[in-house]
Amino acid sequence: MRAGRVHSVIAAGLEDPRLLARWRHEPELLRGCGVDPAALDLEALWKFAGLSAKVKHNGLRADLPLTFRLMNVAGLEIEVFASYAAARADDGRRYAETPAARAADLSDFLKDWLDFGRREHAMLWDVLRYEMALARLRRAAAAEAETETQGPRSAVAPNGKSVPGVRGEVILHEMRCDPRAVAETLWEKTPRLGDVPLGAHYFCFWRRGAGTEVHILQLDELGFYLLSLADGRRTAARISRALGGGARPAKGFLAALGELAEFGILTFDAS
């Protein structure tokens, strides 16, 4: 087999992993390219395409250090990036220019590709969203002028006619693990991912306004869904009904609204 032809086949397969799938189904096509099908390990080449794709995403490591560390510890990097490279080739899409856009594309892919029944996959999804939320809010904060004023907290106790709205920007994620607990084990000498407890976790990533720090709040279920519905248009009564409560919001519901307002994350307008 001529070296130049062998190099051509390898380079073409790495550049367009769709060819690897085609050669797998029709090995004789390889012979037509001057390469003995029995001599080329297509599976290994597919994995190597994963390494190449992974290296192209090194620029994401600044925002996603835990995500990469978790993929490494769980032995997922090659599998993830080989599958991702193949998927991008199938779609005929090049990798995005900026790290933020690349992270968003990778996240879109993983959402469909991950098997959430597998512990490491579920943890990876949570850690990725955790780091992306922080990165997005921090970037937004850095991009804006330091013009934010603290503003008065809502002193008025909410009632059914109050219209709760978020002060600043929030990102809400329901997760199966606490990424902070994952982080602790990831930086140990021998990370034990199996020891990280799984369960329902409700996270709110909140930036009060321009140029301010990002808060990570762990909420209860009521607070989480309350915030997800507080859009500055719906009244407390409507939100209460949307959450299965009565037309007249219960005391506990209003108390939860009041607590969020006390913390500074919600403000109230009258309807």
């Binding site: 051509s8 003995d36 001599a39 390990d41 290994a44 994995k47 490591r61 250090p65 990469f68 990097e77």
Partner: protein, 281 residues
């Protein structure tokens, strides 16, 4: 501008350029002898050249496809030459690999395929001859010598007629060229091909080793992979010890340049380990 002066015969110790290296240099002035800079980085982000006001630079390259059949463009060669002259690099490290190849159609009608990652070539007499031809042409273009870095082998390359060690030996002998021995690539190759790294390293022409590379590796999906985001395993340092028993490379470079969060404490301890091994403690 700073330039590497290794006339005292001691092995210089440096880091591959990256965010962690920049942080280390800032926090530990005078600790490193040089930073190894990828030509491709200088080409695409020329402002990084400013680091040479602080520390000498050795040029490393992945664009010349020395073991390939598609030559680099004149523009690329001219750009490498300019950077080599500007940095006054003592040598230019290049991969014994290919980074571009002819297209698949007969006659390559669709143009060559250019990759962004170097690939282990077919290891055969044909490739050895091709490397010799390529080097003959390139050497005339540069004032600094080219040295060649062994590639990591992740899979059997069809048509190969010799293992990596024999291929490196054949190229070194045929081309009379210095070597950049990447010990992690070497260990990865032996792990993936079932060879004994310590027996194989003893077969290399170590007297030709000008520079050594050290980085991490990991096992995933049944294969050992290069990984510049993790620390080198103990076996790599054992291999370094074997090399230093027989040879005195002019430089040892730690390549921990994939992660901006590479722990500075590990960087320092590995640099200390290399300095001690090279008699620089």
């Amino acid at each position: 501008m700073k330039y590497l002066n290794d006339s005292n015969g001691a092995t210089a110790v440096g880091l591959a350029y990256g965010p962690s290296a920049v942080e280390f240099i800032d926090q530990n002035p005078g600790w490193l002898d040089y930073v190894e800079m990828p030509f491709e980085q200088l080409r695409h982000t020329p402002h990084v050249a400013a680091i040479q006001e602080t520390i000498p630079v050795i040029l490393h390259c992945a664009s010349m496809s020395v073991a390939g059949f598609v030559p680099p463009s004149e523009e690329t060669i001219d750009a490498v030459k300019r950077e080599a002259e500007r940095t006054r690099t003592p040598w230019i490290g290049e991969h014994l690999a290919f980074v571009s190849a002819d297209g698949l159609s007969e006659g390559g009608a669709e143009g060559p395929t250019s990759l962004t990652y170097t690939v282990c070539p077919q290891m055969s007499e044909e490739t050895v001859e091709r490397v010799a031809e390529n080097l003959n042409g390139l050497r005339q273009r540069f004032g600094a010598p080219l040295i060649l870095e062994n590639a990591p082998q992740y899979f059997e390359v069809p048509g190969s007629t010799m293992p990596m060690t024999d291929f490196v030996c054949a190229v070194a002998s045929r081309c009379d060229v210095g070597l950049l021995l990447d010990l992690t690539h070497f260990l990865i190759t032996t792990l993936n091909t079932g060879a004994d790294a310590f027996e194989e390293v003893a077969r290399l022409p170590l007297e030709r080793v000008v520079e050594v590379h050290i980085s991490g590796l990991n096992f995933q999906s049944g294969v050992a992979w290069d990984d510049h985001a993790t620390p080198a395993p103990p076996e790599v340092f054992e291999l370094l010890g074997r090399v230093l028993e027989r040879a005195r490379p002019r430089a040892v470079t730690l390549e921990y340049n994939w992660s901006p969060a590479f722990p500075q404490a590990i960087l320092k301890s590995h640099l200390e380990r290399v300095r001690a091994a090279a008699g620089r403690a």
